[in-house]
């Protein structure tokens, strides 16, 4: 308690460290520095959980088990990475589930009905996703509809459209059939394909968030929209752009998963579930919906945490029923921790 309430300025790097601090103070400083890192607490917790499962199960750190975790963790990480850009704005995009469902269907149609080669079909379906993202952004930024409501509308619309276009029938994914070619292996079917995509996308988006104007303006709009506009930031553009990015990543994950599972599965149940796990991963990773703050790397670790939790519980022979319960607890704890860390970072103890 005492360590976290101390003046955060004194925990900063480069500050004048007093001569020969007692050892406890050093530990305390190191501790509060990790906690003050937005991703700090979730990194610690993820390590603790991984160590716990490896001590209590014999197979946790086996290569085979890694391959079990990946298909669950990587798609959530990519979805969460895009969602973070919307959540930093203080908005939410529920329609990523619809993009996840809709993009592979467009991909399939472009390839089979219009004869587009695989690459072009992929690009075309991603463009369609991105345009729908722009529509979300226009609803929210220009027309001023609450993002929960606007994207709930596009969620149902495009999940419905997916069912109508596909007539509810699963079809074989082009490029995903055995023997899988290079295209299929790169875009989802390769064992480490989605992992590599996840790491690359997270690295790229964290770079964009931290080291580009796009990132600064995203934080600015999420933190103080009027002030950002007064300073000359084109807030509508920033918002629309982030909704486009979010829809793009969701469409991409949808196609990866369709290729990996070899089937374009027009059933909204799976996407709707993964949507909530993606939001959970972002929240657990340190991105609250309050606007102005968030981290893509945190979302990746949040997704990893969820993957380890699910996998570990199954390995331990605990009923999978516990997964939702523990996920819920993790979201609540992460929420509380982040509200607290946010206050420490701002050097304020009151609410607000």
């Amino acid at each position: 308690m005492a360590s976290a309430t101390q003046d955060p300025a004194s925990t900063s790097p480069g500050g004048p460290g007093g001569p020969a601090q007692p050892r406890r103070a050093l530990w305390r400083e190191a501790g509060s520095r990790i906690v003050a890192l937005r991703e700090g607490s979730i990194i610690l917790i993820t390590i603790v959980v991984a160590v716990y499962f490896s001590a209590n199960t014999s197979t946790f750190f086996s290569g085979g088990n890694l391959e079990t975790i990946l298909p669950y963790f990587a798609p959530i990480a990519i979805l969460a990475a895009g969602e973070v850009f919307v959540m930093i704005l203080g908005e939410i995009d529920l329609s990523i589930a619809a993009m996840y469902l809709f993009a592979p269907i467009i991909y399939y149609k472009l390839n089979t009905s219009l004869g587009f080669p695989l690459g072009l079909a992929l690009v075309g379906s991603l463009i369609v996703s991105t345009v729908i993202g722009a529509v979300n952004g226009i609803f929210v930024a220009v027309i001023g509809i609450n993002s929960f409501v606007a994207t709930l509308g596009t969620l149902f619309t495009f999940e419905g459209l997916s069912l109508i276009i596909s007539k509810g029938t699963p079809v074989a994914t082009p490029g995903g059939q055995i023997p899988v070619g290079t295209f299929g292996k790169v875009f989802g079917a390769g064992t480490y394909s989605e992992l590599i995509w996840a790491l690359a996308i997270v690295a790229l988006l964290q770079l964009v968030l931290t080291f580009t104007r796009w990132g600064v303006y995203t934080v600015a709009v999420g933190s103080n929209k009027l002030g950002a506009a007064e300073a000359g930031v084109r807030t509508n553009l920033v918002m629309i752009r982030n909704f486009m990015l979010c829809a793009l990543t969701a469409g991409l994950v949808g196609i990866f998963e369709a290729i990996r599972s070899q089937t374009v599965q027009p059933n909204p149940a799976g996407p709707n579930e993964i949507l909530f796990f993606a939001v959970a991963a972002a929240v657990i990773g340190g991105t609250l919906l309050t606007g102005g703050s968030g981290t893509v790397v945190g979302a990746l670790i949040g997704a990893l945490f969820l993957g380890i939790l699910k996998d570990g519980l199954i390995l331990q022979g605990v009923q999978a029923n516990y997964l939702l319960f523990y996920t819920g607890l993790a979201v609540i704890i992460a929420m509380a921790a982040n509200v607290y860390v946010g206050r420490v970072r701002r050097g304020r103890t009151g609410g607000g």
């Binding site: 934080v219 600015a220 002030g227 007064e230 084109r234 701002r346």
Partner: protein
């Protein structure tokens, strides 16, 4: 003041500016000019439309009608960026600071320094320039890599002023720049204004509520009343008494019009 008020020396001039917000008429018919190198004090009651006028000048809002001229040319900024490109910078009354961003990111908001050819932020350059700019202005901010949410009200105001001064602008609009400042910091900002004026490069419009500050810092004073300029005089030709008198008369007149009854003795709205 040298010479008569003639158009060529006006760096900024607005004519018949009007602005309504639904049923509220913020500005009815404003005529205003700003000479090169001049510091103009803009006065008016709360809600008189001072901030609205500033926001029109800096491109944040569009007037319903009227014309503006910048260095003699017609001027109709479509955005804040537009006005900024034309050399106008603003300190807003709400400061327009981003709590979640660091001091230096706030100082360079919309003017970020980036690397070439990949436009990644050059944080090191921004930190260096921010530190130099704050030192030059004489603002004491211990750390520039903390978020501005951690600063005091006066420090935040100083950052907003520094952001405006640390630019190529030759017209600076300051909306109550001293509102949250202590006596010493306020004096620092007024010194800064005096220094800028001495350099002769910039022209300044400054909204103030404190008449003492007005007479200390401004060459000329304009008073907005009923959506129009009710008084426009060099500070050397007016006095605290005259300004007070106008404001109080207005108050009495409004009072009498409203009640059509003997008005009670109004309090003197002297220097805050």
């Amino acid at each position: 003041m040298v010479g008569p008020t003639s158009a060529p020396e006006d760096v900024l001039r607005v004519e018949h500016i009007a602005k309504r917000f639904g049923p509220v008429t913020a500005l009815k018919d404003v005529n205003l000019h700003l000479k090169k190198g001049e510091v103009l004090g803009l006065l008016g009651d709360n809600g008189a439309g001072k901030s609205t006028l500033i926001k029109i000048l800096c491109g944040f809002q569009k007037p319903d009608s009227g014309q503006m001229f910048l260095r003699g040319e017609p001027f109709a900024p479509r955005s804040v960026d537009d006005a900024r490109a034309a050399g106008i910078e603003t300190v807003y009354q709400d400061l327009a600071l981003i709590d979640e961003l660091s001091v230096y990111h706030n100082l360079f908001l919309r003017k970020e320094r980036v690397h070439r050819p990949v436009p990644l932020l050059s944080n090191r350059q921004m930190k260096r320039e921010a530190r130099a700019a704050l030192d030059e202005i004489g603002i004491n901010i211990p750390r520039i890599d903390v978020s501005v949410a951690r600063l005091s009200g006066g420090q935040r105001q100083a950052i907003a002023v520094a952001r405006t001064v640390n630019s190529d602008a030759d017209i600076i609009l300051l909306d109550e720049p001293l509102a949250a400042m202590g006596a010493k910091e306020g004096a620092q900002i007024l010194d800064l204004v005096a220094r800028l004026k001495a350099e002769g490069r910039v022209s300044i419009i400054m909204i103030l509520h404190n008449y003492v500050h007005v007479f200390q810092a401004c060459d000329r004073v304009s008073l907005i009343q009923d959506g129009a300029i009710a008084l426009d005089k060099p500070t050397s030709e007016t006095s605290v008494d005259e300004l007070t008198e106008i404001v109080v008369n207005e108050y009495r007149r409004a009072r009498e019009a409203a009640h059509a009854a003997p008005a009670p003795q109004p309090e003197q709205p002297g220097p805050a």
